[in-house]
Amino acid sequence: MSYRRLLRVLPTWYQERYADEMVEVHRATGARVGPGEVAATLRLAVSTRLGRAGRPSTTTLWFVALAAVTALAAGAALSTVSALQVRLDDAGRGWQMDPSGRLRETGSGWDAYELLASVGLYRVAWIVVLLLLLCGSRRAALVLGLVTAALDLSAGLGPLLSRDSAFLEVALARSDVRAALLPVLALGALALVGREAPAPAARRRAAVSAATVVALYAAGPLSAVSGAMLVWGDGTLWPTTAVAVALAAVFVILAARCLDPAWAATVFVLALTAVLAGPLPGTPDRTGGPDGIAGNVLLALAAAALAALAWVASTGRRAPAHLAGESSRRRVAAG
């Protein structure tokens, strides 16, 4: 195998920039293309595609944090609305025993404090964290997010630390640990963003948040699609599979050509989180039975695979930011 042919595994932008130079160096060393060189080139192909030698870009970190906090805020908003509806339904059903011993309707079934306390005040704070991020205030969002997550975590761990922990159901404890993954993901991404790194444009921040809400809304019907619904009249699956594969290919091509690699990377990270943590806040929880769990995991894995493909394809086309201005450097003709 020729060395130039081996270099085809590298991203397009990398080949355009360095392939001639690498071939020249390899020719000068007089070495053959052995397993060591093949392994080194494959490692280079992976690290250049992952961006900055494997580290996520600042934009990716911002997008991951925004999407995760949007999911948490959506979950908090849904819980609040749901609790509000229950209280409104029960508003006229307050009863009190009068001195004569008869039950008397009071009509005061709820108050605002009791409502917020039932949902969990700390969860409502995720909405404020989201607003801070949309305004570009990373540090304020990080501080409030840490406090909120600490309260959330302590509420979850409370029964574990109490004397009654012996009676705690293992399933509930596992659920609490899984629920902590999304706050950890959001705060970890925010903490990793450099202090001096500029935030993405306000329009892009709003777009990520809006896209997350749409994705959460769409996840409900998608997760309800069962295998039986995909079977055609003659009992075969292939027509539906063909359509799904074609749609997936269109998604990957469009994402690779039109979107910033950070978008695909964000979807990839969130999909893997969904595999580990179960349905994200705001999506219908269909984990009641084995079929539901399998459906959610398969959906998240499919999203992760598609996003990974789009990510790899898109990072192969664009040079990283630290090389963007290199073409303007001086050239010297030495003959």
Binding site: Y3, Y18, D20, E21, M22, E24, V25, H26, A28, T29, A31, G36, E37, A39, A40, T41, L42, R43, L44, S47, T48, R52, A53, P320, H322, L323, E326, R329, R330, R331, V332, A333, A334, G335
Partner: protein, 114 residues
């Protein structure tokens, strides 16, 4: 948080560039000489390391020259790259001294010369 130490190959690349800007093949030759023939950089390894070093601001492209009709890109070490190299060299030197003292090599060498 403690800064990660440089790999041997990265350390040798920075050392090679500390004297003067070099092109890819020049770096391969220099690292081979610096390591007494022990480290032969694979081309893929060299460019992966240069990519990371450029991204971290420790190395930057210097100039391009045309040599026998082919473009050669030269790389140079930056100020922060030089500071990092000095810090890493001191750290490795301290560790090597400690190892030699612990194994008695330094003391025995001193006795032999006396």
């Amino acid at each position: 948080m403690a800064r990660r130490s440089l790999s041997e190959q990265t350390f040798l690349i920075l050392t090679a560039l500390a004297a003067e800007p070099l092109h890819g093949y020049g770096i391969v030759q220099s690292t081979l000489a610096l390591s007494d023939g022990e480290v032969t950089l694979k081309v893929g390894t060299l460019y992966g390391a240069l990519d990371r070093l450029c991204a971290d601001g420790l190395v930057e492209p210097d100039r391009e020259e045309t040599h026998q009709g082919r473009a050669r890109r030269y790389y140079r070490i930056t100020d922060s790259g030089m500071a990092r190299l000095v810090a890493e060299a001191k750290r490795r030197s301290r560790q090597a001294d400690a190892a030699l003292r612990r194994t008695g090599v330094v003391a025995r060498a001193g006795e032999a010369s006396a």
